[in-house]
C-alpha cells in the first residue's frame, strides 16, 4: 500500500515536472517570438510607410498597417527611375567585382599562411595580423586615398577599401590549415604544382568557408556608405546606401530652411518615396541574407565578427 501511494506521488511529481517543463518551454518560445518580431518590426514599419498615402502619413503618422494604402511612392520612383537605377548599377558593380577580387586576394594569402612548411609563414603572419592590433585609422587613410592614390570620385575608391579584411584572412587560414594534408600530399606525389593544388583541391574543399567570407564581403559592399561619404562627390557614382543618406540629409536641410522657403518642394522626394527607396535598397541585401543565412550562422561560429 505504501509503495503504491509512493508510486502515485512519484508519478504526480513527474507529471508536474513535465507540465512545468512544457510551460517554461512555451514561455521561452513566447519570449523569443516577441524578440524576433521586435527584430522585424522596424523593417515592417518602413515597408508599411512606403505603401501609405503621403497625406495620410503626414496626418496620421507612421503605423504598422498603412492608414491609407497607396503605391504612389513606388509609382513616383519608377516614373523617373534614372537616379535609383544608376545607384543600383554602381552598387551591384562594386559588390560583384569587389567580392570576386577580395576572394582572389584573400584566399591565396590565407592558403599560403596555412602551409606548415612555408618558410615565411611566421614573419608574414606577424606582418598580416599585427594590423589587427594597431591601425592608423581614417585620417591617414583619407590622406592616402585622396593625396597619394588619388582615387576619389572613381569606382576604385568604392572597391579598394574592403579587398582585404585581415580578420577574414585569419578565418580562411584556420579553415585551410584544418584540411586533411593527405589529399595535398597525394596530389604533390602526382606532380601537381602548388598553385594547381590550391586551385583544384584546397579551394573546392574550402567552399563553405569561402561562401561565408564571400557573403560577408558582399554585404559589406552592399551596405557601404562611409566610403562614398569620404571619397565620392560625383552623383553619378553614388552607391545606393549613400544615395539614401543624401536624400535623407537633403530632406532634413529642407525642413530646416522650410521657413525661408526658397527651395522648391519637388526637388526632394516625399517621405513615402524616401521610405520606398529604403525598401528597394534593403530588399536585395535582405534576400541575400535569407537565401544564404546558413552560411551566416556558420560564419558566426567561425568567428567572422570581431
Amino acid at each position: 500500500m505504501a509503495t503504491y501511494s509512493q508510486k502515485l506521488r512519484e508519478q504526480k511529481r513527474l507529471d508536474t515536472d513535465r507540465l512545468m517543463n512544457l510551460l517554461s518551454r512555451f514561455s521561452i518560445h513566447i519570449v523569443i517570438i516577441l524578440l524576433s518580431l521586435g527584430c522585424l518590426f522596424p523593417l515592417l514599419l518602413i515597408v508599411s510607410a512606403s505603401f501609405t498615402d503621403e497625406i495620410a502619413l503626414t496626418r496620421f503618422g507612421y503605423n504598422l498597417i498603412p492608414t491609407q494604402f497607396s503605391t504612389d511612392a513606388y509609382a513616383a520612383i519608377f516614373r523617373t527611375p534614372g537616379v535609383i537605377i544608376r545607384a543600383y548599377l554602381v552598387t551591384i558593380f562594386t559588390t560583384v567585382v569587389g567580392t570576386i577580387l577580395a576572394l582572389a586576394l584573400m584566399s591565396p594569402l590565407a592558403y599560403a599562411l596555412s602551409r606548415p612548411d612555408f618558410i615565411l609563414r611566421k614573419p608574414l603572419s606577424l606582418f598580416v595580423f599585427f594590423t589587427m592590433l594597431f591601425s592608423g585609422g581614417i585620417v591617414p587613410y583619407y590622406i592616402l586615398m585622396t593625396q597619394y592614390l588619388r582615387v576619389q570620385d572613381t569606382v576604385l575608391a568604392l572597391i579598394l577599401p574592403y579587398l582585404v579584411v585581415v580578420y577574414y584572412v585569419l578565418i580562411l587560414r584556420t579553415y585551410f590549415a584544418a584540411l586533411p594534408s593527405e589529399l595535398i600530399d597525394a596530389a604533390r606525389v602526382d606532380g601537381a604544382g602548388e598553385f594547381r593544388i590550391f586551385l583544384s583541391i584546397a579551394l573546392p574543399l574550402a567552399k563553405p568557408a569561402l561562401a561565408t567570407i564571400a557573403l560577408f564581403t558582399a554585404l559589406n559592399y552592399w551596405n557601404d556608405w562611409t566610403t562614398a561619404l569620404y571619397f565620392v562627390r560625383d552623383p553619378q557614382l553614388y552607391p545606393l546606401q549613400y544615395m539614401l543618406y543624401i536624400i535623407q540629409s537633403n530632406a532634413q536641410a529642407m525642413q530646416l530652411q522650410g521657413s525661408v522657403g526658397n527651395i522648391t518642394v519637388g526637388e526632394v522626394p516625399t517621405q513615402t518615396a524616401r521610405m520606398a527607396m529604403a525598401v528597394l535598397a534593403t530588399g536585395p541585401a535582405a534576400l541575400m541574407f535569407l537565401v544564404f543565412q546558413r552560411y551566416l550562422v556558420r560564419g558566426v561560429t567561425l568567428g567572422a565578427f570581431r
Partner: protein, 330 residues
C-alpha cells in the same frame, strides 16, 4: 570545379612510376613551392602594405601642421601642439567621455542580453523553430545603418513618428526626440542591442552547445533547478568565451561604431552633448571643419590607447589563464 577536384584523386590511385625519383624531386621542389606560396601571398601583402602600413606613417600627421600642398612629410613639425589644442577643447574631452560611457553601456547591456537569449535558445534548441529564430535575430545586423536611421526616424519623428503618436493617443505630451539629448544613451543602447544581440547570443549559444549533456543530467538528479544549472554549469564553462569577448570590446573602448552614431542620430548637432563620440568628432574635424592635424591627433590618441589596451588585456589574460585552457589572443 568539382571535376577538376576529382582528377588528382583519381590519378593518385594509379601506382606512381619510380617513386624514389619522385621523392627526390619533391625535396628539390621545396624552394619552388615556397616561391609559389610567396607569389600567392604577394597581391594581398601588397594591399596590406599600402593600406595598413603606409597609413601607419600617416600618424606623423598628428605631429605636424598639416598642409595638403606640402604633403605628410613636408608639413612643419609642431611636436605635441596638436594634442595640447585637442585636450584644451571641451569637445574632445566630451567625445572621449561619451565614447567610454556609451561603450560601457553597450558592452554590459550586450553581454547580459546575449547571454540571456543564448540561454533561452539553448533551452529550446531541440525545437524546429530555432533556425527561424536565429534568422530573425541575425537579420538586423545586415541592415545598413542608413536604413536603421530611416526607421528610427519613423519611430521618433516629432510630428508623425509612431512613438509620439502613441504618446498623443494616451494623452501625453509628444517629445521632440531629436532635440532631447538625455534620451539618446537609451535610444542608442536599444538600437545597438537590436543590431547586435543576435550575433552575440549565437556566439554564446555555440559555446553552450558544446557542453556535455551528462553534466546537466547529473545536476538534475541532484535536484538543481534551471537557474542553478545555468549559474553552476553553463556560466563557468562558457566563461572563457565571455572573458575573451569582454576584453576584446574593452580594448576598443575608444572606438565607436561610426554608422550608429552618425546615421541613427541623423548627425543632429542638438544631440552632440550625449551622442558625439571620437569617431564622429574625427569625421567632422576631417571633412567638415577640415582641420586635418586635429583629426589626426584625435585619431592617434584613439589608436594608441587601443593598442596599449589590447597588449595590457592580453597580458592580464595570460596571467590569469590556466595552462590547460589558453585564453590569450596571442
Amino acid at each position: 570545379m568539382d571535376a577538376s577536384f576529382e582528377q588528382p584523386m583519381k590519378t593518385s590511385v594509379v601506382p606512381v612510376a619510380a617513386p624514389r625519383k619522385r621523392f627526390e624531386s619533391l625535396r628539390g621542389h621545396k624552394f619552388s613551392r615556397n616561391l609559389v606560396w610567396l607569389l600567392m601571398s604577394l597581391p594581398a601583402i601588397l594591399w596590406i602594405l599600402v593600406f595598413k602600413y603606409m597609413t601607419l606613417f600617416g600618424v606623423w600627421i598628428a605631429f605636424t601642421d598639416f598642409k595638403v600642398r606640402r604633403g605628410v612629410f613636408g608639413s612643419d613639425f609642431v611636436g605635441l601642439d596638436n594634442f595640447r589644442f585637442l585636450f584644451a577643447t571641451d569637445t574632445a574631452l566630451r567625445a572621449t567621455a561619451n565614447t567610454i560611457f556609451l561603450n560601457v553601456l553597450f558592452i554590459t547591456g550586450g553581454l547580459v542580453a546575449s547571454l540571456l537569449i543564448a540561454w533561452l535558445m539553448y533551452e529550446i534548441y531541440s525545437s524546429k523553430l530555432t533556425r527561424f529564430y536565429q534568422t530573425m535575430l541575425l537579420l538586423p545586423r545586415f541592415i545598413s545603418w542608413v536604413v536603421v536611421g530611416y526607421f528610427v526616424y519613423a519611430l521618433l519623428a516629432t510630428d508623425n513618428g509612431l512613438i509620439n503618436n502613441i504618446l498623443r493617443n494616451v494623452g501625453l505630451q509628444p517629445i521632440s526626440w531629436y532635440a532631447t539629448p538625455q534620451a539618446w544613451p537609451g535610444i542608442l543602447l536599444l538600437t545597438s542591442l537590436w543590431s547586435g544581440m543576435g550575433i552575440g547570443s549565437l556566439i554564446y549559444l555555440s559555446g553552450m552547445l558544446a557542453i556535455d549533456l551528462q553534466l546537466f543530467e547529473a545536476a538534475r538528479i541532484d535536484g538543481a533547478n534551471k537557474w542553478q544549472q545555468f549559474s553552476h554549469i553553463t556560466l563557468p564553462i562558457i566563461l572563457p568565451l565571455v572573458v575573451i569577448n569582454l576584453l576584446l570590446s574593452l580594448a576598443f573602448i575608444l572606438n565607436a561604431d561610426f554608422g550608429l552614431f552618425f546615421q541613427v542620430t541623423r548627425n543632429q548637432p542638438l544631440l552632440y552633448s550625449t551622442t558625439d563620440v571620437l569617431d564622429t568628432y574625427i569625421y567632422r574635424s576631417l571633412i567638415v571643419t577640415q582641420n586635418v592635424s586635429m583629426a589626426a591627433a584625435a585619431q592617434f590618441y584613439q589608436s594608441i590607447v587601443g593598442f596599449v589596451l589590447v597588449l595590457l588585456f592580453n597580458w592580464i589574460v595570460r596571467r590569469i589563464e590556466r595552462a590547460d585552457e589558453p585564453l590569450a589572443l596571442f
